[in-house]
């Protein structure tokens, strides 16, 4: 459903994403892990059509995001890591606006808005300006906006940041149900327990390159990690020595 072909992104002389090729099939929840600055957000923003790749291409459902953007983006729901929304719109108005961007309106959308606000416990806030929302409430609103047009693919960057435990659990259930019904999720996260529990497959990116990809048992096998947890595997692949040094420095 999502296909990355030789995807590359340069910022001047800095290579943020280096020749990535990856496929996320339909009906799968795919984790995208990596240390800070590894190139996760850049990759996800290229998939969402926000950044243009320096080289390579992104296909969503067979449509090139940068050559046939409208067709590709109709299938997509994007949840960014930072919840920037229009402060002077109310929650309900924001959702109606986003639905409009996907060409949707009418009673069906009004019902959908009410449904999503109810699910995320924002109904009592629907007529309040977004400027009064907390970080977590904004995050919930953005998640609702990504679901409003019933996408086939969800690309999500750090979904759990700012969410309370109840909302985090709800989001996990929503993603699992979405995937169960044939949807596709590509999710970047730093919460390795969440990734291990939820994801069907995982890709680990470092210095802009995919250094490992597969199911957790596959990764253990590939890297002879026995029955190590995903956290141990991650540290092994991305430089666990640094973490040990850090612990020593903090312990001093």
């Amino acid at each position: 459903m999502i296909r990355l072909e030789n995807l590359t992104k340069h910022y001047g002389s800095f290579v943020a994403v280096d020749d990535i090729t990856m496929e996320v099939p339909r009906g799968l929840l795919h984790g995208f892990l990596g240390p800070n600055g590894a190139g996760k957000t850049t990759t996800l923003r290229m998939i969402a059509g926000i950044l243009r790749p320096t080289d390579g291409r992104v296909l969503i459902g067979g449509d090139d995001v940068h050559k046939k953007p409208l067709a590709a983006k109709m299938r997509l729901g994007f949840i960014p890591d930072r919840p920037f929304v229009y402060d002077k719109l109310t929650g309900a108005e924001f959702l109606r606006f986003v639905a409009g961007l996907y060409g949707q309106e009418g009673d069906a959308i009004d019902r959908r808005i009410a449904e999503l606000l109810e699910v995320f416990e924002l109904t009592s806030w629907k007529d309040e300006l977004v400027e009064a929302y907390s970080h977590g409430m904004r995050q919930k609103l953005i998640i609702s906006s990504a679901l409003i047009h019933r996408p086939e693919v969800i690309v999500v960057d750090e979904p759990m940041v700012g969410l309370d435990p109840k909302a985090a659990r709800l989001l996990k259930d929503i993603f699992r149900q979405f995937v169960g019904k044939g949807g596709t999720v590509l999710m970047s996260t730093h919460t390795l327990e969440v990734a291990e529990a939820m994801c069907d497959r995982i890709a680990i990116i470092q210095h802009g390159k995919i250094v490992a990809e597969g199911t957790v048992p596959d990764l253990r096998r590939q890297h002879q990690a026995g029955d190590a947890s995903l956290e141990e595997l991650f540290l092994k692949l991305t430089g666990g020595a640094h973490a040990r040094e850090l612990a020593e420095v903090l312990g001093r």
Binding site: G49, I50, P80, Y86, L89, F97, Y102, G103, E128, A132
Partner: protein, 567 residues
């Protein structure tokens, strides 16, 4: 274990701001190369030179007037400095609210072991710089003219700095204290709304009153009964308790060669006392105020009004365009800092129409046909300039204001053409209504012929379409995504280039039309029938082509630039 924290120096607290400003300058230079810097330097130097030249000529004339000369010069300086102090008080109130209560670095500073005095002084310094740099730059050519005419010598430079500095500090302390008190009463965001409204209302009121009392009449000596009355008025201080008056006295006494230390002492001791009291007030009230500033505006909005009115009118449009237009209108009218600018706009329009009405063209005697048409024609250029200023304020920032939400627009299937289309028409329709009203009303006041009325209205329509497109195009070409305050966007480099291009456009169109209008005026003046010949049509076509090009090209360039935006 208790340890007394070693306090960072004031410079250390201010360093991130300084480094950020330096980095921004570096980035701007790298993006625009030396071309951008040289344009800024050229425009700035030209402006300085113009202010200097005008003031030099005025002061030279004053110097030639025996006895009255120094009095007139002192009065002029007093009025200029008074105007600057008024501007400074207004801008400091707005700036102090941002730097003391809404700035992003406050969480870090307040949570760090930085004592209240350092925080106060750092933020006060930030407020002074942000709100006073423009006034400080404006003062340079003015004082230079005074220094040169009255032979102030090189020592006049440090003396002037010593005089002006406390004059800049005082309004900042006052603004910070006033904001501190207001924030303790209202939530910060509500205070910002209130302050923008008060500030703009006050500024608009002052401009309106100043214009409506027709100050040009005061300049006529026949208005005074005798010379003594006139001298008495000149000798009376504008405002004996204001720092501008002390600064004027200090500067004029130096320039006359008899230094009076009292005004300078007054300036510095008052500044010192104000800073001390301001700091004490800050110690007492900042913590409570800062806590209150974290509160939201807590406003519930139903939002059905716009959906029923504008939404119904826009029904024939595609849903994405309709929602975009509705969103832009709602955001504009819900943001007090945005819509309150309409107060100034209304004042600008009233003053403009009043000026046309005040022209001595129809005062009983037969009116010169030539003059009426000339004024009506030049009126197009002036109206165009007024429209350009409005477009710079409202249309130019449109793309920049989408910056933080661009992730949503770029990841959705919204065609950027639709976005640009919505932005263009949301800005152009009100501007077009205003343009037609402005030109129509002034032409009626001038009693112009039908020919001139048609030419004016058609031209102003074409110009408005072009000016809006230029504003939007340049706004996309030079976006300011980092700026939180929309009011700062028009004063950026892109805003300057937009205004320069618009002046060039107005010049080109008026030049082309003048050829056609001249043929008409000449025929009417000589009593010949007006013949619309190929030459006249040709010039009209040239003007229309220039406007069409100025509409289409900027929009195309803007669209192309937006497609390349990366976030």
């Amino acid at each position: 274990m208790t340890a007394r924290a070693v306090q960072p120096s004031l410079w250390h607290v201010l360093q991130p701001k300084w480094r950020t400003a330096r980095q921004r300058l570096r980035e701007a230079r790298e993006r625009g190369g030396w071309g951008r810097v040289s344009i800024l330097v050229t425009v700035g130097s030209l402006f300085w030179a113009a202010v200097y030249k005008i003031l030099y000529a005025v002061l030279k004339y004053f110097r030639g007037v025996e006895d009255l000369g120094p009095l007139l010069a002192g009065k002029l300086l007093g009025l200029v400095l008074l105007a600057f102090v008024s501007i400074l008080i207004l801008s400091n109130i707005i700036t102090a609210l941002s730097s003391f209560f809404l700035a992003k670095d406050l969480d870090l500073l307040v949570s760090a072991p930085v004592d209240w005095l350092r925080l106060y002084l750092a933020k006060l310094w930030e407020t002074v710089i942000h709100s006073s740099w423009m006034v400080a730059l404006m003062i340079v050519p003015i004082l230079a003219a005074f220094g040169v005419i009255y032979d102030g010598g090189v020592l006049f430079i440090p003396y002037a700095v010593l005089t002006i500095l406390p004059m800049l500090l005082l309004p900042a302390v006052l603004g910070a204290a006033l904001t501190l008190i207001l924030v303790n009463v209202f939530p910060a965001r509500r205070t910002r709304d209130l302050l923008s409204l008060i500030a703009l209302g006050a500024a608009g009121g002052v401009i309106l009153i100043f214009r409506l009392i027709r100050p040009e009449q005061l300049a006529r000596p026949e208005g005074f009964r005798n010379l003594l009355d006139f001298i008495t008025v000149l000798r009376t201080p504008t405002s004996p308790f204001l720092p501008s008056e002390w600064a004027t006295k200090a500067i004029m006494s130096y320039l006359r060669g008899s230094i009076d230390p009292l005004p300078l002492v007054l300036l510095w001791t008052t500044a010192g006392a104000f800073i001390t009291f301001g700091a004490l007030l800050h110690r007492q009230m900042f913590a409570t105020g800062f806590t209150k500033a974290q509160e939201g505006a807590e406003r519930f909005v139903r939002g059905t009004f716009w959906r029923w009115t504008v939404g119904s009118l826009l029904t024939p449009l595609a849903v994405a365009k309709r929602e975009f237009v509705l969103k832009d209108i709602k955001l504009f009218f819900r943001d007090t800092t945005q819509w309150s600018q309409l107060i100034l706009l209304a004042v600008l329009v009233v003053v403009y129409v009043f000026n046309i009405k005040a022209l001595p063209l129809h005062r009983g005697e037969p009116v010169g046909f030539f003059y009426v048409n000339l004024v009506s024609f030049l009126n197009l250029g002036l109206a165009g300039f007024v429209l350009a200023s409005i477009a710079a304020r409202f249309i130019f920032p449109a793309v920049s204001l989408e910056g933080r939400q661009m992730w949503l627009l770029r990841s959705s299937p919204l065609d950027l053409r639709a976005l640009l289309w919505s932005k263009y028409w949301v800005g152009t329709v009100p501007l077009l209504v205003l343009a037609l009203l402005l030109t129509g009303v002034t032409n009626v006041l001038l009693q112009v012929s039908s020919f001139m009325m048609i030419v004016s209205l058609a031209t102003i329509c074409a110009l408005t379409l072009a000016i809006s497109a230029l504003a939007l195009g340049y706004g996309a070409l030079y976006p300011q995504f980092e700026t939180e305050n929309a009011a700062q966007i028009p004063t950026s480099f892109g805003g300057l280039v937009f205004m320069m291009t618009t002046v060039a456009l107005l010049g080109a169109v008026i030049l082309a039309l003048s050829q056609a209008v001249y043929t008409y005026v000449r025929a009417m003046y000589e009593g010949h029938p007006v013949v619309i010949d190929a030459k006249m049509i040709g010039w009209f076509t040239v003007a229309a082509a220039v406007c069409a090009a100025a509409t289409v090209i900027p929009l195309k360039i803007g669209l192309k630039r937006m497609e390349q935006f990366e976030f």
